[in-house]
């Protein structure tokens, strides 16, 4: 895609909450267009840069659902600092695979894993360093306001490229029928 570089590089933060990083892998699938992308944007907090907390940004791309207190903190930090927040992939949009645990009581799940399975000690870990699990796995839009949603498990590299370039050039992002998918 032929694009005029913007006056000032936009800042992009990305994060994976309770996801598999598959959406980030999909972002890498834009291949050589990555070189074009880094001409247009600068990455702040992201697994790509390994920066752990983010400053003021323009766009946040977030994959994964919200399943524990740390996810809430990360999501809120990104919401606070980013002008535009995009839920990327099935988990971020609907809860996805992690939300399969929503049929069970979280207390029972923890006890089963840490107390009843063979080889476990009979105690649920209580280190204050550990994030606590929420009663259910939530999609992003139940915790913070979300500006855009890109469904897909994962969305294709082409879909992410189209979405990002639309956003960067100030257009309403649109996906055509082929790249808009839910699986």
């Amino acid at each position: 895609m032929n694009m005029r570089p913007p006056m000032k590089k936009l800042k992009v933060a990305t994060a994976s909450l309770s996801g598999c990083l598959g959406c980030h892998m999909s972002l890498l699938d834009i291949d050589e267009r990555l070189l074009e992308l880094v001409k247009l944007v600068e990455f702040d907090r992201s697994p790509i840069t390994d920066i752990k907390s983010c400053g003021p940004c323009d766009i946040a791309l977030i994959e994964g659902a919200v399943c524990n207190s740390e996810n809430v903190h990360v999501l809120r930090e990104l919401r606070r600092n980013c002008k535009m927040l995009v839920a990327v992939g099935a988990c971020a949009v609907t809860g996805g695979l992690p939300a399969q645990r929503n049929r069970f009581d979280v207390g029972e799940i923890l006890e089963r894993c840490y107390c009843e399975m063979p080889g476990t000690q009979s105690k649920v870990p209580d280190d204050p360093e550990l994030p606590l699990l929420l009663d259910k796995v939530y999609p992003l839009n139940e915790i913070v306001r979300v500006d855009y949603f890109i469904p897909g498990c994962p969305p294709s590299g082409d879909a992410l490229w189209k979405y990002l370039t639309d956003l960067i050039s100030g257009r309403m992002p649109r996906l055509d029928y082929q790249s808009f998918r839910f699986d």
């Binding site: 207190s69 919401r79 979280v106 649920v124 209580d126 204050p128 606590l132 699990l133 306001r145």
Partner: protein, 604 residues
């Protein structure tokens, strides 16, 4: 689940009565449930085998209709009418009282398998609510005392037939009568007048009358009849749409209770003009109590040669009417869904075209008319088309029956010539402090007092005939939430915009109701309204958000005072969502808690 017991001696006669015809599957299931209280897997399997159809077909029908049960619901199945007018009349308190008396949770059967209590969509008793259904029999004018009596009767296992008859009395409440409700009826007069004109002459009278359908859409009846008459087909059908499911509408109930002869004659005249020999009345399940009197009147008609072979002695004029029951599905008021239901299938709307007039019941040319429309046909026959067109307005000839309920002194039926102002109806009904009127039920529009000068007519405010009046102590948000739950429940689930959209609307309204909604949610409602109303498959979806949109735009304070100023907040308590994990981990440190809000800097 209880062991599935099949009772062939119960089922076989029912199936035989319906000739083992899979087209009568819905009727067979309704009767089977009346006899057995629920439709066990064994019952469904037996019926499937007897009709030689896959058991999945039977299960699909059972699961589609709200009033068919594939799990036990007790010997007494109590359903409170959940319409907004019943709620305003105190139905939530009454239901809570009954649940307490019977020590029950809503929707859960009592341990002894005796009784269950739940909610159902509008039962069409809005002028004499709050109302409930017990095993599909309507009980009106509920009070705490009557609830106590009902609880005692249920506990004593008294058969429904032995319950006091006045419980089941349904009043007509005709408050203003005009051409239809006020005229005397002479048996066969309309039919003989039509026969005197001949089929083409009568069709010409219908054209001259400019009679339009009273179900709400207002399609010209003569055009429909002509299209049916001229369509190629082996057999033609006249269907009377008595699936009066639109919340707040109850005129068809009164017409079928006290003016049924005119409906029959209207159908016979339609048959005479179109060449149809068979008529079907699709009666909603909530009006099952009307079936026996209707059958008796049909027998009288046949005896007096107003139905059957050679009607009024005219050779070749053969027409007869059968009654089909529905089982709790609002969407079956849509004509193609109704036809699907008549054919014994789940009531999912068909893709149109082809329209029923060329390809309807059993894929034959079919006229589907509203109960009131068919009554009006008799007026056209007796007085002639020109005389009929003389009342009302230019595009809306004749009179219209309006069902008035809610905050009025005299709820009931009001018949006016078309063109009457909304304010006139309100004044006559004794609505002195109305802040809003919901016209045409949940799918219609919500009028503000500034609009009360508008006229009831297809040119201005079209209506299927319902006025739900809200007094100045009412919160229209409650109405919006009620309609949202109604449509979520009644969506047939066939198309995604309606199935998912109506549920999303309900969730967002619940969030606003709980005090967590922001401007963001309000904007989402607008977006969903645009989406659902433009991309749904049938009229249910396209109209499902009309009232909501009216309330949002015309009554801004209804939402404004409920929305939080914050940019966004979760619809639940985040800290409480950690409580279970805190408990099993035995933690209560600072990291084991979450603030309710996002933190500084984002509050608007």
């Amino acid at each position: 689940m209880t062991e599935a017991i099949v009772e062939p001696e119960v089922l076989e006669p029912i199936i035989a009565r319906y000739n083992g015809d899979p087209g009568n599957l819905l009727q067979i299931l309704i009767e089977a449930q009346n006899a057995l209280d629920w439709l066990s897997p064994g019952t469904q399997g037996f019926i499937a085998k007897s009709l030689d159809i896959p058991v999945t077909h039977v299960a699909a029908v059972v699961q589609f209709y709200t009033h068919l049960y594939d799990t036990p619901r007790g010997k007494y199945r109590v359903l409170f009418s959940h319409n907004i007018t019943d709620r305003m009349a105190g139905s939530p308190t009454l239901m809570a009282h009954m649940l307490k008396r019977l020590k029950l949770k809503r929707g859960v059967v009592s341990d002894d398998g005796l009784v269950s209590v739940g909610k159902t969509s509008c039962t069409g008793m809005c002028d004499q609510g709050p109302a409930l259904l017990v095993n599909n029999r309507a009980i009106t004018r509920l009070t705490l005392r009557r609830i106590d009596e009902i609880c005692d009767l249920i506990r004593a296992r008294a058969p429904l037939a032995n319950w006091p008859a006045h419980y089941f009395r349904v009043e007509d409440n005709i408050e203003r009568a005009d051409m239809l409700l006020g005229s005397a009826y002479a048996p066969g007069e309309a039919l003989r007048a039509a026969i005197a004109c001949g089929p083409t002459g009568m069709m010409a009278e219908m054209k001259r009358s400019n009679l339009r359908g009273r179900g709400g859409a207002g399609f010209t009846t003569a055009v429909k009849w002509e299209a049916c008459r001229d369509a190629p087909g082996d057999e033609r059908y006249i269907v009377c749409n008595a699936d009066e499911g639109e919340p707040g509408t109850f005129k068809d109930r009164v017409l079928l209770q006290s003016f049924a002869e005119r409906v029959f004659e209207g159908m016979a005249i339609a048959g005479y003009c179109t060449g149809a020999r068979k008529g079907l009345i699709y009666l909603r399940g909530e009006y099952t109590y009307l079936r026996a009197p209707l059958e008796a009147k049909l027998s009288d008609f046949r005896r007096n040669r107003l139905l059957g072979m050679g009607i009024c002695g005219v050779p070749g004029f053969d027409f007869d009417i059968a009654i089909h029951l529905g089982a709790g599905a609002y969407v079956c008021g849509e004509e193609t869904a109704l036809i699907e239901s008549l054919e014994g299938k789940p009531g999912r709307p068909r893709i149109r075209p082809p329209f029923p007039v060329t390809c309807g019941y059993k894929n034959q040319p079919t006229v589907v008319n509203n109960v009131e429309t068919l009554c009006k046909v008799t007026e056209v026959a007796i007085h002639g088309g020109l005389a009929y067109a003389g009342t009302g307005t230019r595009q809306s000839a004749g009179t219209k029956i309006i069902s008035v309920s809610g905050d009025v002194e005299r709820p009931g039926l009001y018949e006016y010539p078309f063109g009457v102002r909304v304010s006139q109806v309100l004044e006559d009904a004794g609505a002195y402090d109305a802040i809003a009127v919901q016209i045409s039920g949940a799918a219609g529009q919500c009028l503000t007092p500034q609009e009360f000068g508008r006229r009831i007519a297809f040119e201005d405010v079209p209506t299927s005939g319902s006025f739900m009046v809200f007094g100045n102590n009412r919160d229209l948000f409650e109405a919006a939430l009620n309609y949202a739950h109604f449509f979520e429940h009644e969506s047939c689930g066939f198309c995604t915009p309606c199935r998912v959209g109506t549920a999303l609307i309900a969730r967002i309204l619940e969030k606003i109701h709980s005090g967590h909604g922001a401007r963001y949610e309000f904007n989402e409602l607008n977006r969903l309204h645009q989406l659902i109303s433009t991309s749904s498959h049938c009229g249910l979806g396209t109209t499902a958000t009309n009232a909501l949109h009216d309330i949002m735009t015309k009554f801004p304070t209804v939402f404004d005072r409920r929305l939080i100023r914050r940019d966004f907040e979760p619809g639940f308590d985040l800290d409480a969502a950690l409580a279970r994990a805190r408990e099993v981990a035995g933690r209560d440190d600072a990291n084991a808690h979450l603030d309710a809000h996002l933190g500084e800097g984002v509050d608007a």
